[in-house]
Amino acid sequence: MLEKLSHILFSSRVLLPDLLFGVVFLVIVAAIAFSQKLDAERTYVLFNVLIISVLISIGFVFYAFFGFYKQYFESGSVLFGQLIYLDSVSLFFKLIISIASVAVLIHVWVVGYKVVGEFYAIFMALVWGLFIMTMTTNWLMLYVSLEMVSICSYILVVFNKGKNNSEAGIKYLLFGATSSAIMLYGISLLYGMTGTLNFVGQEFATFLGQNPTWIAQIAVFMTIGGLLFKLSAVPFHSWTPDVYEATPTPIVAFLSIAPKAAVVLVLIRLFSSLSIDFRMIMAIIIMASITIGNLSALWQTNTKRMLGYSTIAHAGFMLVGLLATNTIGVQSTIFYIATYLFITLAAFLLIDLLALKTESYELESLRGLGQENIFLGLAAVIIMIALVGLPPTVGFTGKLLLFTALWESYQTSGSNMLLIVLIFGLLNTAISIFYYIKIPYFMIFKEPKIGVRYYQIGFIRKGFLLIFLFFIIYLFMRPSGLINLIESLKLA
């Protein structure tokens, strides 16, 4: 008993920075609840305070982890029984999520979205949920964190209270609930088969292997359904375009990277201990995601919807490294996610900055904007090229590493399926040029409807976008730093 108590105390101490999220969440909620409806100016002050508190708490987590708790995650430490598993990989993914969340908050401020105070509380909880997801190897904890993320996402999607929002939100909710149900069913099956909730242990692998393969495969497939829903991979993708079109852009930008990163980490951990061959299902999911995402995007006229389909395709690419089932594959997946972070945030920021002028996300409205502000024109070229995956951007490096890993895996295993996926990926990259390039094409080569009127964007907005552009180019020139960092992570 005493031993258990001391373990709980130890665990809480290690997780102190994460608990801070809970405190901040409560403080924010209290602050909003007990403050009256304030006049505009003071509300503004309140929001600033909230932003700052959120930023500080996220920053504190990292300060604490890097400074004080290094010894606990060097070799990975198991906390709260087996509910929490903390190691350097989870820390790296927390870093990605934090960068995304900080960037999104700055995005909200820079573009000037009017949000109510509750937004920050919900956002806080969402980030917290994601953090927990990055450090769990337990089915139950995974399910809880996933639901935490999902529920917060449902709320954020309908925050604008518009008609479209409600429609998108209700679909998102129904779809999410269904996926969640499937996942829970899958988990129960797996628990029945293996008798353990911890999915990285030796126990899990051994017991799972004793079952008929196809039953195990179906159970695992059902289980990862909930994860695929977060990843918006086929066949759990249908909600994506609607939600992306209706939701405020910063939230979309966040949904397009942070939950996906966390989910991919869970998948990495799951596959590393999976004792059954799961590659065929993965191959089908990847090919379907890439193809459906890219081909649907071809005909879109709304930039946000187009980027929605594009994220489906990118979800497919993220899984390619897992299909390779070797260390290089996993590393290149992490690299791909880390770089996709900058690309996707930049892309959504760009269309938001464009929308400031045009007040519309339609492709047609972008005519000649690149002539009116050459900086935005160039930024569009760089970002879209990065999304396609061409040099001189980091998008190219990421795809190159993924396909190299896949090719090596094909060389060693000789499985034709991998070759087919490789060819599919390359072909789809070629196809994706057509719709990505449409944005800079409209901006630069089409004449504006009513003459060229020069359009200035503010220094802070420009500077914020420049940071992303810098990383997109810099990581192409000097990827070694990031690659070394990823190689130093101890993959379970």
Partner: protein, 691 residues
């Protein structure tokens, strides 16, 4: 503070001065511009004096700059006595030139731009002085060239100024090509561009390898840079034209500092010059010196005369290096910098006084009007003429002695022609300086006939006055007495109150041209502080000094007599002197015209033809390749459209159909939407079971 830090801060100051003045050139008042610029320069002078005290000598400070594969290129700062000397000299003269310009450039609409360029120039010149490798020297070399271009063409509204600027720039390019090839050869041969390393390697070389053709070639190519920048014989045409720039600029750039950069460069790399190169340099220097002096004899333009004299003196310095007496050449560089700057500044004051009239025939009698300038000018001219007690005598004498010594070591008697020409040129310089002083400052006597008539007139006037005076005696006498009294009291006060910025600068330069500044014994250059620092071995040839004094005094005398005679028949309207030879010399041997005919005209003739060739044939070829590509591309396009696109279209249309199907679901039927998942799930199960 370490020396390199001081230099770095100093350079940053000038950079700041340049950019700030250029940026604010239209906002700031003239006073604040001048004050700021002079302040920066003054700090620079203080710094340069402070450095000497810190006493780190012969140091090379290297910073890594960049790699080309594994070849490291460095930024080197070479600190030795030569560096300190030039570092101080450049800034000191620049300071007084800036002070001078306050008055001279007053009211010029581009006052700020002028000072900004001056700052850039000082920066570049310091850069040359401190650079420890040839690549850096070359870069700053080009930068001073640019400043020269900008300042010669400063009054760009004048066509002649822009032409002169262009000429200076292009002629310098020719020399720089040689210089650059020389640098590349140095890198090829020595494997480094670091001056100290090169010099050390050259010093341990055997005589045979130093005489090898490659070393000679390198030396000659590097000398090319000196030929263009220091206006040596075939390329000296740009310097007289460069007088189109403002006079203080001529004093700073085209007399004291930039044109001496060639000499400085040669002094830096002297150990790698082979005996053959040195001989070539001596000969080139001799010819330049002689022809420059000849041209100076017949000029009417006050500044052009000084320009030709500069060419001649630079030739003398090159001779000094050519005969192996580097330090005498440097000594002459220093003394020349002061007295030539003083001459140019005084000339500037004269031009200012004459309201931008530069023709000496229209001057005269200025001794009375601007006495201070008269004295400063005479002192500087005496220094240039080589009169004892003035600085020029010391340095010229040292070079001539060194040349005699050198000639006596040579196998043939013919080599004595070089010291002989030095002496002759020394006499010529005394002649033309006397001529200039006479024409500008002294009272000019008129033709004897006119003299008689005018004296008759004045006699008549005096007589008339007397008669008038007798009528009212008292008034007149009183007034006269008052005038006399006033004149006695006010002389010194008037004299002092005349001193403005221009006079002050001229006075400083004149003081620096007096022999005692350099050596306590005004007859012996060996005793000067300069040769204590820069060691120079010389056996003393007393008789050379006496001959030199004799020649100089003779030159002055002849100059006085001939100019007096010449002044009777001066024709103000005439553009060129009469007589074939005089015209030939006056026109600088028609070198410019020669280059125009040989190089420029054929170029102008052939370039339209080449243009035509380019347009018709090369462009035609390119265009036909282009049309072929277009044809091929349209074929490709057709293939793409009809075959590939239809395939893509098929695929895409299929997807679009699926897309429209899902869209239909999204239009309100969320349940179908969820059913899709279950269908997929079931399909997956079936797939797995059959497999």
């Amino acid at each position: 503070m370490s020396a390199e830090l001081v230099i770095l801060i100093n350079i940053l100051f000038y950079l700041f001065g340049f950019s700030f003045l250029l940026y604010k050139r239209n906002q700031l008042s003239e006073q604040s511009i001048g004050l700021l610029s002079i302040l920066i320069n003054f700090i620079g002078v203080l710094f340069s004096m402070g450095i000497r005290l810190s006493d780190i000598s012969g140091d090379v400070i290297s910073y890594n700059w960049f790699y080309i594969s594994d070849k490291l290129f460095t930024i080197d700062i070479l600190l030795n006595d030569l560096t300190y000397l030039m570092y101080f000299l450049v800034q000191f003269i620049a300071l007084w030139v800036q002070v001078f310009s306050l008055k001279y450039m007053q009211g010029d609409p581009s006052f700020g731009r002028y000072y900004a360029y001056l700052n850039l120039f000082i920066l570049a010149m310091i850069g040359i002085v401190i650079s420890g490798n040839l690549l850096m020297i070359f870069m700053f070399w080009e930068l001073v060239g640019l400043c020269s271009y900008l300042l010669v063409g400063f009054w760009y509204e004048k066509k002649s100024a822009t032409n002169a600027a262009m000429k200076a720039f292009l002629v310098n390019r020719i020399g720089d090509i040689g210089f650059f090839i020389g640098i590349l050869l140095v890198y090829r041969y020595f494997g480094t561009l670091d001056v100290t390393t090169i010099v050390n390697k050259a010093q341990v070389m055997s005589a045979a390898s130093l005489n090898s053709p490659i070393i000679t070639t390198i030396g000659l190519l590097l000398f090319c840079g000196c030929v263009a920048k220091s206006a040596q014989l075939p390329l000296q045409v740009w310097l007289p034209d460069a007088m189109e720039g403002p006079t203080p600029v001529s004093a700073l750039i085209h007399a004291a500092t930039m044109v001496a950069a060639g000499i400085f460069l040669m002094a830096r790399i002297e150990p790698i010059l082979s005996p053959n190169t040195l001989l070539v340099m001596a000969v080139v220097g001799m010819l330049t010196m002689f022809f420059g002096a000849c041209s100076a004899l017949v000029q009417y333009d006050i500044k052009k005369l000084l320009a030709f004299s500069t060419i001649s003196q630079l030739g003398l310095m090159v001779v000094g290096i050519g005969v192996g007496a580097v330090n005498t050449a440097l000594f002459h560089l220093v003394t020349h910098a002061f007295f030539k700057a003083g001459l140019f500044l005084s000339a500037g004051a004269v031009i200012h006084h004459m309201h931008h009239e530069q023709d000496m025939r229209k001057m005269g009698n200025l001794r009375r009007e601007i006495p201070i300038i008269y004295y400063t000018y005479t002192i500087c001219a005496a220094a240039l003429a080589g009169i004892p007690f003035f600085s020029g005598f010391l340095s010229k004498d040292a070079i001539v002695v060194a040349a005699f010594e050198w000639a006596s070591r040579q196998p043939k008697q013919a080599y004595f022609i070089i010291p002989a020409v030095c002496l002759v040129v020394s006499g010529m310089s005394a002649y033309y300086m006397m001529r200039q002083v006479f024409l500008v400052f002294l009272e000019r006597e008129d033709n004897p006939l006119e003299l008689i008539s005018s004296s008759a007139k004045s006699l008549y006037k005096n007589v008339a006055k007397r008669i008038e005076g007798i009528v009212n005696v008292e008034d007149d006498e009183e007034r006269q007495q008052a005038e006399i009294r006033h004149a006695e009291e006010g002389d010194l006060l008037d004299f002092l109150s005349d001193i403005g910025p221009m006079e002050l600068s001229s006075i400083v330069m004149a003081i620096a041209s007096i022999g005692f500044v350099f050596a306590l014994n005004p007859f012996s250059a060996e005793s000067s502080w300069f040769f204590h620092t820069f060691h120079h071995e010389a056996t003393s040839y007393q008789w050379v000094a006496y001959i030199a004094i004799l020649v100089a005094l003779n030159g002055v005398l002849l100059g006085y007599i001939f100019t007096k005679e010449e002044s009777y028949r001066l024709d103000n309207e005439e553009l060129e002197p009469r007589g074939m030879i005089a015209k030939f010399i006056f026109k600088n041997y028609y070198l410019s015209e020669l280059y125009q005919t040989i190089f420029v005209k054929p170029l102008l003739w052939i370039s339209p033809k080449i243009n035509l060739f380019d347009r018709k044939i090369i462009d035609g070829a390119v265009n036909s390749v282009g049309s072929l590509t277009i044809a091929w591309a349209s074929l490709n396009y057709w293939v793409e459209r009809s075959i590939i696109d239809s395939f893509v279209g098929l695929v895409a249309n299929t997807t679009a159909k699926i897309g429209s199907y899902t869209r239909q679901i999204q239009n309100g039927k969320a349940q179908t939407y969820i059913i899709t998942i279950f269908v997929c799930l079931v399909l997956m199960m079936i797939l797995l079971i059959i497999k």
